[in-house]
Symmetry: C2
Subunit: 498 residues, 2 copies
């Protein structure tokens, strides 16, 4: 039976993925510094074995013949997702993949060297090469999937996402934010005049911060029988669903950055831990995509952890773990002054939730033009600066380091990924609003630090659905309507609108 | 070129081994408790991929044709070792391997349940099954290698070891020890009467013990750019040569057990870290075998770390890391009273270096009879008791838990392994004596905690030789003579003979 063959292949692929994921997490947390070269060789060879097994020609026959077997609903969807994943894995010729991998590795390395110097001119030829390859890739993916070029790129990260839908939603959000950012800033200014930010009284010992982070993870539902928290330079949530490897990093002069980071990653972790175990070795059993994943981290970070209700139970935990003198005299408003501080800035990854979407929409718009050929790499600095000035009122024309050179995505050839960040923020807000209807006392539960019903709702609507549906289908099923910007706008107005 | 094909295959196998080794170390140190099932599935699938790739039929052709290629000395040896490894991997039919794996897994599981109860009768049928399979395996390996049955088993662990040689060496050692154990005990009694053992003043905080262990590792030459120390229930030295994962465990009422364990594992680690990097993906580049590996750990533990010279530099380190009140008033003789305490006991793993070989020789003798069919499993308790009584003067007839049920080796089907432990102790002593000739001020260097020349000698004579030679050849090349018991006997006499 062909379904059975796919099932067995899935188990082998899952084992290779398991190894690659754990080795990846281990590399960032526990590997000896001199172990990197052999580790890279091992990871690359394992990835090669994975690719060879995942793209074997007979799989196409198994998929075709499995379709006519007597399958239940889930099994049919599972074969469909297997096919989607197989098409994605096989639609690029090996020769092209090698060419692209070599070019993006060189370009990323060059970017690491040149970004600190802000040397755009030296970087430009490499980026031009990458963009030429991205256009080639988009054409190949478009041919294999029947999607438009940029849609074919996005579809890798969030299956079902189409510019036709996202353009509308982003246009709505952009026009809202252009007015709302100044509003939020002046509301904040008035509030801070009455209630100024308080200084922090560090140092905050790492061991205590770790205990606080663990307590926060436990509170929001992290399952420590299937995961752990370690330290790495760049925080991440990796590993496998049965053993989620989360990391954070600590600074001793303040503790809120690490704590909020831990809560963000816990959102990712809960999704992984909540995926349906019986499908773990099928594409169907994986998290739906990047936008949905980000919605789960941002749900915890933005919808829960930056709310006043959350801090009713969290503030005592801070006192308990960090000591009474850690933030002497602080009340919830003082914490919110810190964690919800809004600021126009150059850097996407440092942006708050109000300004962040404008950073993303800027990139989304430029990417589309770069892929279609309307824009060339050499024109990026001016186009970037024009949009930064229009959307956020700040200019980066003399500062490519903090302008178009700030992200690794383009040097790495990852076009079509940026929208996921803001889609995630919008999905989180829309989920939260839908949840509120089903759980009228949700805000009270947050106050009490009781996330049982909230997590059960998320498990039913998102986690356990895994990849049964496309991203847009999943959103509609969970919230009763297609993705739109209304709930996110309402969320921002409620929090920052005064 | 076939040599090149073997080289490429070697890189793939090394990557799978890398994954399996790191996943194995991770499992014992950092894995979430609920991650075990998927981890076991992943390890088993990776092992299956390794086996499939390592036993592919075309490899036999590559080996044959590589032999007639224009190769240098090392390359010829490398092909020879590849062949040895290929024959070992392919000489058992798949059907047999599956049958044996299933039987030994069941038997090990049963042993874990029944050993605490000392329920020999319930365990016997499983052990009988395992022994039947071991006889079958010995016959298969004998047919493939042309070796005698028990030699074929031993050859897996220490290539070149033959009962014809070991019988003689062990007979010599046994007859010496039967007299020497009582001597050492009465010498010890007289010494302790004059200089009694001192009590320890715990608790010893784990963090301080860890610092002391790290200092000891650093002192004897562990390279922390290629390895690390963690905690696990059963201490081990795992990982890969570029990233050696060592573990220990701590108790807070004393610190010497952990420290000596760390030094033992550091001996293993130095061997791995010292293997020739350019051959790491060939069988030639691996450590020679179990006896040689144990010789490296026992060299550090027994030849170095339990000597008075070693404690001249180590005692100040203890004071530095554990505090001046950790062992108040202790001098070197007090430490040696502890670490060189001799005792007749039931349990091999708890035995000191004087009585340990008798535990091993007992098993070696019984194993040969079990494999040849001279002895049946049902006769083990009486045979065991007779030898324990003869060699160590203690009876285990009413205590199978601490008698023939104490080790995992037989339940797991690992026959031919036990001799390696005592061969390791003898090799370590013989290496030490040879080294002393080349480095006349070796004892002074130990006093100063300077292991540079000692480690260089070991690197030249053992580590860098890797698997270029059989175990007996390697011993002769390193020490100028075949393995014999004289140096080990002299070592015991010098340390315990009064």
């Amino acid at each position: 039976m062909s379904f059975q063959k796919l099932d067995e292949l899935g188990r082998k692929l899952e084992s290779l993925e398991h190894a690659i994921s754990i080795l990846g997490a281990d590399e960032a947390t526990h590997m000896a510094v001199g172990g990197g070269e052999k580790r890279a060789e091992a990871m690359s060879n394992l990835a090669g074995m994975y690719h060879a097994q995942a793209t074997a020609p007979q799989i196409a026959d198994w998929i075709e013949s499995a379709k006519s077997e007597d399958l239940d609903d889930d099994q049919r969807r599972a074969v469909g997702e297997f096919e989607r994943s197989y098409v994605n894995a096989t639609c690029l010729p090996t020769e092209f993949v090698q060419r692209r991998t070599a070019a993006t590795m060189r370009s990323e390395q060059l970017w690491r060297d040149l970004r600190p110097k802000g040397d755009w001119d030296s970087f430009l030829p490499a980026l031009e090469g990458v963009i030429a390859l991205v256009r080639e890739e988009a054409a190949l993916r478009s041919a294999a999937t029947g999607l438009a070029a940029y849609d074919a790129l996005m579809d890798q990260y969030d299956p079902g996402n189409r510019t036709a839908d996202i353009d509308t939603v982003f246009a709505d959000l952009k026009s809202f934010l252009k007015d709302f950012v100044p509003t939020a800033l002046s509301v904040q200014e008035r509030r801070l005049a009455q209630h100024p930010r308080k200084p922090l009284h560090g140092p905050y010992p790492i061991e205590k911060q770790r205990e606080l982070g663990l307590a926060a993870m436990r509170a929001v539902g992290f399952d420590f029988t299937h995961g752990s928290l370690a330290v790495s330079h760049h925080p991440f949530c990796g590993g496998v669903p049965t053993d989620v490897r989360m990391t954070t990093r600590y600074r001793t002069d303040e503790f809120l950055t690490s704590l909020m980071g831990v809560l963000h990653e816990t959102g990712h972790a809960l999704y992984e831990q909540g995926l349906p175990k019986q499908w773990s070795h099928w594409p169907l059993g994986k998290a739906r995509g990047m936008g949905m994943h980000e919605s789960q981290s941002l749900f915890v970070e933005m919808q829960l952890a930056r709310s006043p209700e959350f801090w009713e139970f969290m503030l005592p935990l801070v006192h308990q773990h960090m000591g009474d003198q850690a933030i002497p005299g602080w009340d919830i408003a003082d914490v919110l002054n810190e964690v919800n501080f809004v600021e126009r800035g150059y850097i996407r990854v440092d942006a708050d939730e109000v300004t962040y979407p404008l950073h993303v929409i800027l990139r989304y718009e430029l990417e589309q033009d770069l892929v279609s050929g309307k824009l060339e790499a050499s024109q990026i600095p001016e186009a970037w600066d024009a949009k930064m000035t229009e959307y956020l009122g700040i200019s980066t024309i003399n500062d490519p380091k903090d302008g178009p050179m700030q992200d690794v995505h383009w040097p790495g050839g990852a076009f079509g990924y940026f929208p996921s960040y803001t889609l995630g923020a919008m999905i989180a807000a829309q989920l939260s609003a839908a949840m509120q209807k089903d759980l009228p006392d949700m805000r009270d539960q947050i106050r009490q630090g009781d996330f049982t019903a909230i997590n059960q709702w998320r498990a039913d609507k998102v986690w356990n659905e895994a990849s049964r549906y496309t991203t847009p289908e999943l959103i509609t099923r969970a919230t009763g309507e297609p993705l739109n910007a209304d709930y996110f706008k309402a969320h921002l107005k409620a929090r920052y609108g005064g």
